[in-house]
């Protein structure tokens, strides 16, 4: 796609959190819940939250500090939902400058999420907008797994610009 990509496994939340302001595209694939995503490193769990003051939180970035981040994808169960303590990942992301934030409103299955991701990034790489890539990935997922076995991928939630295109390479506004 033209970006300098890095793949980080077994990372602590703090290292991912510190990268966000310098990223153009942020993709998390793992466990999570309303208002948070969870990391596991060396057997220790850590979280990035939307606005929980006890943890690394997106709300601690100043408004506009995430302006370079064009697209943030939180591939985790219920990552689009709001929690009373942790807040809402999509709302805090866009409030701090992310152009488009994507999450899911229900539990999502690991196999379908992996397949869906591959198709989603494939379509983005072809120059499709976020909404086009989501629609095409959803259709591929349903054709492959069936209506009753979509794994929650049809519960995507977008906040921000649906028409964002990330290929050719760009940073956020």
């Amino acid at each position: 796609m033209g970006y300098s990509a890095g793949n980080y496994e077994n990372s602590a939340a703090s290292s991912a959190f510190n990268r966000m302001a310098s990223d153009q595209v942020f993709f998390f694939d793992g466990h999570g819940g309303p208002g948070f995503i969870q990391f596991l490193s060396g057997g220790i769990y850590s979280d990035i939250t939307a606005s929980n003051p006890s943890y690394p939180r997106i709300s601690s970035y100043t408004s506009g500090e995430l302006n370079d981040l064009a697209l943030a994808v939180y591939m985790a169960c219920s990552s689009a939902n709001t929690d009373g303590n942790s807040g809402n990942l999509l709302a805090q992301s866009t409030a701090r400058g992310v152009d488009t934030a994507l999450g899911f409103s229900q539990s999502i299955d690991s196999e379908q999420s992996g397949y869906w991701s591959n198709r989603f990034w494939y379509y983005l790489d072809n120059g499709d907008s976020v909404s086009q890539a989501i629609g095409a990935a959803n259709a591929d997922n349903q054709v492959t797994y069936g209506y009753w076995n979509q794994g929650g991928m049809d519960t995507h939630v977008v906040q921000g610009n649906n028409y964002l295109v990330i290929d050719p390479v760009r940073a956020g506004y």
Partner: protein, 277 residues
């Protein structure tokens, strides 16, 4: 009198033979439909002109469509041509029959009448659209299963309508879904498959037993939220009857635990385990 009876018998015989010939013709036709895997793949030329173009023209109601063939893709339900149009629409077309099986279209003329926020009022309009485009809708006795609205935030609300052919309690491979998003370029997605039923749909494993098996895999108690469906899935050239079972529990932090287990409805064997994220 004798001659008249002989004439009547001859007419009856002709009638019986005629009836038999119709039956045989129908049987041959049915066999052709039911053995799609053995049918020849349509030539790529048929996609940009010929039957695929004709089907897309019928689907959209537009004659001014220019089609680009993006190649062939293989799914569990068979091979499909991926084609796009000059209007930015995308289709998967059955590579054997030319039937449109997946369509994503934007601002199509034929869908503008669906632009309403009332899901119940849209039902009749959507069904007419499906009856027009799903070839065997009446012959298959498709059952309306559900309609629902999914809120995608800034990506609008999606209205989803779903029909499935039922065999007893089992959902067969013949199904059709239409979703419509008035807030996102009037996007309409159609996914319809017409496949013959090849297997018996009586499970030997009960729904309750399948759910117990699934919960034991994820080490969950009966308090877990468990849902299951008896579904036919493709199995190479054949089909398999399975229970798809979801078992989910939330901890106090809001993390989901559990996942989906696919259980063979005849043997009880667990075919796949798919934990949630």
């Amino acid at each position: 009198m004798v001659k008249k009876m002989q004439k009547n018998n001859l007419l009856k015989l002709i009638g019986v033979l005629f009836g038999l010939s119709i039956l045989l013709t129908c049987t041959v036709t049915a066999l052709d439909d039911n053995n799609m895997a053995s049918q020849a793949i349509l030539s790529p030329d048929a996609t940009e002109k010929g039957i695929v173009k004709e089907n897309i023209q019928k689907f959209t109601g537009s004659q001014n469509v220019v089609i680009s063939n993006k190649g062939i893709r293989e799914f569990p339900l068979g091979k499909m041509y991926e084609v796009t149009t000059n209007a930015g629409d995308r289709y998967y077309v059955n590579a054997n029959t030319g039937d449109i099986e997946v369509a994503t279209i934007h601002n199509a003329v034929s869908t503008k009448s669906m632009d309403t926020n009332d899901i119940a009022r849209m039902n009749e309009t959507v069904q007419k659209f499906v009856e027009k485009n799903y070839r065997n809708f009446t012959a298959k006795k498709m059952t309306f299963v559900n309609s629902k609205i999914i809120d995608h935030g800034d990506a609008g609300k999606e209205y989803i309508y779903y029909w499935n052919e039922m065999s007893g309690d089992a959902y067969t491979l013949s199904s059709v879904m239409v979703s419509f998003n008035p807030n996102l370029d009037n996007t309409l997605t159609y996914i319809g498959f017409d496949r013959p039923l090849l297997i018996d749909t009586t499970p030997k494993i009960s729904q309750n037993d399948a759910e117990v098996i699934a919960r034991s895999i994820f080490k969950m108690s009966s308090a877990a939220i468990t849902t299951s469906k008896l579904v036919i899935v493709p199995n190479e050239e054949n089909q398999k009857l399975v229970w798809i079972v979801d078992s989910i529990e939330l901890d106090e932090k809001g993390l989901s635990h559990g996942g989906k287990a696919t259980v063979d409805a005849l043997s009880g064997k667990v075919i796949s385990i798919n934990p949630v994220l």
